[in-house]
Subunit: 337 residues, 2 copies
Amino acid sequence: MRTNPVIAVVGATGLVGSEMVSVLNELKLSTSGVRLFASEDSVGEVYRVGSEEVVVELLSEESFSGVDIALFATSAELSARFVPLAVKAGAVVIDNSSHFRMQSDVPLIVPEVNSHLISTHHGIIANPNCSTIQLVPVLNAIQRAAQIKRVVVSTYQSVSGAGKSALDELWGQTLAIFNQREMPREAFAHQIAFNCIPQIDVINDDGYSHEELKIIDESRKILELPELRITVTAVRVPVLHSHAESVNVETATALSPAQLVELLKGRPEIRVYEDPREFPMQLDATGNDDIHVGRIRRDNSVPHGLNLWIVSDNLRKGAATNAVQIAQALIASSSVH
Amino acid sequence: MRTNPVIAVVGATGLVGSEMVSVLNELKLSTSGVRLFASEDSVGEVYRVGSEEVVVELLSEESFSGVDIALFATSAELSARFVPLAVKAGAVVIDNSSHFRMQSDVPLIVPEVNSHLISTHHGIIANPNCSTIQLVPVLNAIQRAAQIKRVVVSTYQSVSGAGKSALDELWGQTLAIFNQREMPREAFAHQIAFNCIPQIDVINDDGYSHEELKIIDESRKILELPELRITVTAVRVPVLHSHAESVNVETATALSPAQLVELLKGRPEIRVYEDPREFPMQLDATGNDDIHVGRIRRDNSVPHGLNLWIVSDNLRKGAATNAVQIAQALIASSSVH
């Protein structure tokens, strides 16, 4: 890896892709150039990257020549098709889709938890699911201190996790209710305005949604705890940005709320709310990179239990920021060698 | 108790009180008259009860002469003051406030679970918290079949649980966002439009909100399981009506999702969603009396575990309907003697 790599963003005009461009600017990655790829509809759009104006190019099989790091913000289908081409052309891919995440030769990275595995890549590094990313740093801190026995998660996920059309749909449905017009219904199978939908992604015959299984499987992989006892209920709520999670953790040894507060204070990616009367909300997390943790309190239904409320911006730390941080770590680790 | 009692509704013009009047009409309770009481602001309003038009009267210390059953839909403060007066005047009170619920000489009733305790009253019967009412019939069925070891609940509660002003505030804040006007903020301490607030009622020093403690304490009392291991996180979501709950239950003995479906099918108050791809939402529950239970699936993180999604209209079965059903049972039990 060059210390000043050429970085490509694939799917650069979507919600996650355009946020990746913003984060590249904010974190001031030094590059030898940034290239932006998208589908035909977006070709010709112009984004400011550093001091330059970059024109969006059409994604094609020949896009990756000369690219050192490719950040993919595409669907699982598009990633399946184009990621191998990027790798073949010599790029290291950081892929935000679910397609490669569970492959054993693909590291799945949240830098604050397992950056030591970045160097094990064979061309592909996977960026985890948004709901996983905000959960595992907290579980990692608890595991180290008191060993996790079991985790029960219920999520409150915003619509931006389902893309631009979902944002438009919550907005449009809400307006339609006020104006007593017919309600647009395309992004979601059910009304999301003033309603919660307890389904994210496809539901299997055993009753679990793919989103729930992703959080379970990816948490186990990232924490390197393949037997971690964890169960999840994933729910879409009528909120535009940021995901919240109600997390119950049972530990093997004692860990008081005050001790956990101290542990989390030591982690730069986490903002802790110590006063029980203050707590993070989705509005507080939107637009920043922190993982906000509040409502930390003892669960008296088990010998050693804690309840927590974790909130983070699903487009920032939950997607774009984490991917760019992986790129940053990749460049830093290469420049050390 | 007379078989055709005089029934009073106290706080008749609030969200719960006016719903009580509707339910009295729908369930066709035979009475010798219905009287409606409220504060000065609402005196003179007219409600149709059966074939009669009933004028709202001013609530006073002398209101209860001749009243057989008084349904209270008032604040804890007003109930504390007026319920003893109603009892002294000879009425049996069914109180929707939290004030008397945990008193040992006051039965706390969900008729489908513990109607056998109605006759133990000394003038006051308490109606449980809305989030408790929709939870305990399901836990009751599970306890009987497989003995509960532990329950973890996260709620998704609508704003109507906080009264008319809260409904207006969600509506008004949402409109203000569209119109880029200043946002009304009185009913809630934080913005509720497009946001979740993980606080319902006051939060104690130990981090628990009163709403969470109500669900824990009341569930134990109603189920007659004073040692029940249960923990709760209560969250307000930007939904107008009905509460949803993500419920994780660990049992002592095996209970499959299919077995639980069969058990719940046998309970008239519950509507079960058997197909894992169908599930109840708050929009489905609003305006009807069912407790909707879906997303029933095995939790593989424990030997015997289940995840459930429970939804019900907090103003109907969660408040008014349950109170009127208690009155119904009270009348029926008296007429048997």
